[in-house]
């Protein structure tokens, strides 16, 4: 027999101001199985909670209803209170008479009071049918997976490792470093990007708690917080990295030249290569598409009789350690992790979508990142800014902002946040390279919110002579050796026509390719722009809706380096906090399957947003649904769609909910 106590909170005047507490008390007293009622000015206060504990003992209560604010506010508080009084914490119900009543009906006390009584009646009906629930404890693997080896992923991995936990970092390129490694300098301090990044790359590679898999990709992910099972595909490098010393003979002698991805086509690399001199690891991979010997093998396999291409194999002949391994194939292996940090970063928008700018058509229309490579001392031109068409030093340089940003026609409605700053940086650096350079920056708004950022853009104008023109460029075309740029200065309201030697398109950020497939494997959300979605945009910026999976850097949205680093550290703290526990306590309010009623239609597996339902075969051969309590969030979708009513939600059983509803007309 239930003995229910009802505790009604005034919440100062928040509730008592628009609800007649005395009448609610009176009504509650008459509700079935209620043996005790009381009211408090602030039930959540220490005396208020003590009063509940005392009443439970004094009146031998075995169920408690607290009529107060939203359960989001204090359900945990009162669960603890009843637990201290010796009851199972799930024998408590909260009747929300504040957010759902007094606050929204403050103009009608009479009806607000009636509604409060009804809300309490529901809670009483439900709590009478509550039963004891117990949280389960699951063990966890204290080992983190970081996906993406840019600055954000590097920072996250280092912080977790330094907190004492093992980390595996998976990077799909042959080196870590990401976009930051491609930059020459960073705003607003003009630090050399490589000088501040490469020490971190080396530190990571040498850390005894870090395992680095470059040229590798995550293939599949199973499991849940604390217990992820991840398949990693190590792409074939055709080079044995255990024996290779990174001496460099092979990539110096390889005769096959192809455009360098790292230099964005501004320079060339060989078919066996490291992307840039400070790459980590400093050991090469063979680009099987372009390698002459691989081409030869494909030719032989095709069975054609025409002239055979050369076999080459120069790298193999010259390698002092015999590390070239033509037979090497992709290798897939499985690792266990307790937490995953996604730091897949961004790529720059492909400006060829703007036919009117002629990107990809005119060699001297380049992107901001390409200009970084032209300015970088270790870049393809040795840091000498030479334009791609004829190697001349450009004197008049025009910058076009918002290319692939703030453009709904290109499905990129958002601001990429960093372009205003990097245009100012480029203007300053170009002047430093060559005092005769005149930069014109076509901007729409100068977005320089950040420490010392506004001052930096002022410097570009005041000290480095960059001319800022407000307006978006409409067309660029070639006239002789010059590029004609048609724009407007909207401040003076006149069309502007400029003849430039070099045009730099400030291409925006977009999520790295393949991020959607990865998000689907991880079962985390992405938005319409394919950026990954945080659990809460303000208060949980590095968490996802899936426990144990965290986010860092530009995969969430446009970020600059300081923000990406801060997020890497933040995500690392979340993972470390998880690993500070020896087991994970799961919420007991999960779905359960009555296998005697389950018909095996498995509709529930299709609707479950957390992929928490799998199947199990019974001894009699029937296949029925089975809930993984580690993954189940207790949303109840499965219970709602189950045709045979075989699924019930602990804490929200059909019986409890029906009791609530029917109490209204009893």
């Amino acid at each position: 027999m239930a003995r229910i106590g009802v505790f009604i909170c005034h919440c100062g005047s928040n509730i008592a101001g628009s609800v007649d507490i005395a009448r609610v008390l009176e009504a509650a007293r008459k509700m079935p199985q209620v043996v005790y009622v009381e009211d408090n000015k602030y039930t959540c206060s220490d005396p208020g909670q003590a009063s509940i504990r005392n009443a439970v003992k004094a009146h031998r209560l075995n169920r408690v209803v607290v009529a107060a604010c939203s359960p989001r506010m204090h359900e945990k508080t009162f669960r603890k209170t009843v637990e201290q009084a010796g009851l199972n914490p799930f024998l408590l119900e909260i009747a929300n008479i504040r957010e759902q009543d007094s606050w929204v009906h403050s103009d009608d006390k009479e009806r607000a009071t009636e509604k409060a009584i009804e809300i309490v009646r529901l809670a009483v009906a439900k709590v009478a049918r509550n039963y004891e629930l117990y949280a389960r404890q699951i063990s966890l693997t204290k080992r983190a997976l970081v996906i993406g080896g840019g600055i954000s992923g590097i920072q996250a991995a280092l912080d977790i490792a330094n907190a004492g936990h093992e980390v595996v970092l998976v990077e799909r390129e042959p080196t870590i470093g990401g976009r930051m490694a491609q930059l020459d300098k960073t705003f607003p301090t003009l630090d050399c990007s490589a000088c501040i990044l490469t020490p971190k790359m080396v530190e990571l590679a040498q850390h005894n708690r870090v395992v680095l898999f470059t040229y590798a990709e995550v293939q599949s992910i199973k499991g849940f917080v604390g217990n992820f099972e991840v398949e990693v595909r190590q792409k074939a490098r055709k080079v044995n990295h255990t024996t290779c010393t990174g001496c460099g003979t092979c990539w110096q002698k390889c005769p096959e030249k192809v455009p360098s991805e790292f230099d964005l086509g501004m320079g060339q690399r060989t078919a066996i290569y490291i992307p840039f001199p400070q790459a980590v690891p400093t050991k090469p991979v063979i680009d099987t598409e372009h390698c002459r010997y691989m081409k030869y093998q494909r030719f032989v396999a095709s069975g054609e009789e025409d002239k055979k291409p050369p076999q080459c194999r120069v790298c193999e002949k010259l390698c002092p350690t015999g590390s070239i391994d033509w037979e090497e194939q992709d290798r897939v292996f499985t690792e266990k992790f307790g937490a995953i940090i996604v730091a897949t970063g961004y790529q720059t928008f492909d400006a060829s979508a703007y036919g009117e700018y002629g990107a990809g058509m005119y060699p001297d229309v380049i992107s901001g990142l390409q200009l970084e490579r032209l300015m970088c001392a270790s870049g393809p031109t040795g840091g000498e800014v030479k334009r791609p068409s004829d190697g001349a030093h450009p004197k008049t340089v025009v910058f076009v902002s918002c290319v692939g940003s703030r453009d709904e026609a290109k499905c990129r409605p958002y601001c990429s946040k960093v372009c205003c700053m990097y245009m100012a940086k480029h203007a300053i650096m170009l002047r430093e390279h060559d005092p005769e350079v005149q930069c014109y920056i076509f901007y729409i708004d100068i977005r320089a919110g950040g420490k010392a950022y506004e001052e930096f853009t002022r410097r570009a104008q005041e000290e480095y002579g960059a001319i800022y023109l407000r307006g978006r460029i409409s067309k660029i075309y070639q006239e002789g050796k010059k590029l004609v740029v048609l724009g407007e200065d909207s401040l003076i309201g006149r069309p502007v026509e400029l003849s430039a030697d070099l045009v730099v398109l400030a291409t925006g950020m977009e999520p790295s390719s393949g991020v959607v497939e990865l998000a689907q494997k991880l079962n985390i959300s992405y938005d319409t722009n394919q950026f990954l979605v945080e659990a809460h945009p303000k208060l949980r910026p590095v968490e996802t809706q899936s426990d144990g999976i965290f986010l860092a850097g530009a995969c969430v949205g446009p970020r600059d380096i300081p923000d990406s680093v801060a997020q890497g550290s933040a995500a690392a703290v979340k993972a470390a906090a998880l690993f500070s526990q020896d087991y994970i306590t799961t919420d007991p309010m999960t779905a359960m399957v009555d296998i005697s009623r389950c018909t095996g239609c498995l509709l529930c597996t299709q609707v479950c947003p957390f992929k928490a339902i799998s199947t199990q075969a019974l001894r009699d051969g029937r296949v029925v649904a089975s809930v993984n309590e580690g993954l189940c969030k207790g949303c109840g979708l499965c219970a709602a769609v189950c045709r045979s009513k075989a699924i019930d939600l602990r804490g929200f059983t059909n019986q409890q909910l029906f009791a609530e509803v029917t109490s209204l007309w009893q």
């Binding site: 307006g471 460029i473 409409s474 407007e488």
Partner: protein, 194 residues
Amino acid sequence: MQTVETITPLPQSRLSGYVQKHSGQNPLRCYQCGKCNAGCPVAYAMDLGPRQVMRAVQLGLKDHVLSSNTIWVCLQCQVCSARCPMEIDIARVMESLRLLAILEGYPVPEKDIELFHRIFLEVVRRHGRLHELELGAMYNVRSGHLTANAGLLPQLLSRGKLSVLPTTIRDARAVREIFARAEAESRKAPAAES
């Protein structure tokens, strides 16, 4: 050029609403990037560029817009619409403003352009098809530009590029009726008040 005078923004005017209803384009989407002005081949001949027209519509400056020559000089080449990052069909906005200016009897700053359109339609109304010689002759007489393009006449005639006589289609009357009814129906169209 407009003289410098103080403007009073009238965002509550119905101009923006009229434009939205008539053209299906929301002028408030414009964030004044200026790509339309930058690409407009005739911006140099306009007193307000397309960007300024969009701004004036946002601010409800009806007289400012409807008495500008912009809405008449606009070639409807659609470059602005094709390149607008907010996918606003600016050319369509221009068109709706021009029709409003006609409907509300605003004085036309580009008299010759208006006259050309009027004569063009008169000729089509008469014959059901255009007769280019008639259009040119009538335009020269009524605009007072008596010699406009007249130098080309011998060359065009000698090459058989101009028919001396018009072709009138068989049911030209039906076309005349289309003109009459279209004009009558258009007068019923909603106007913007401000």
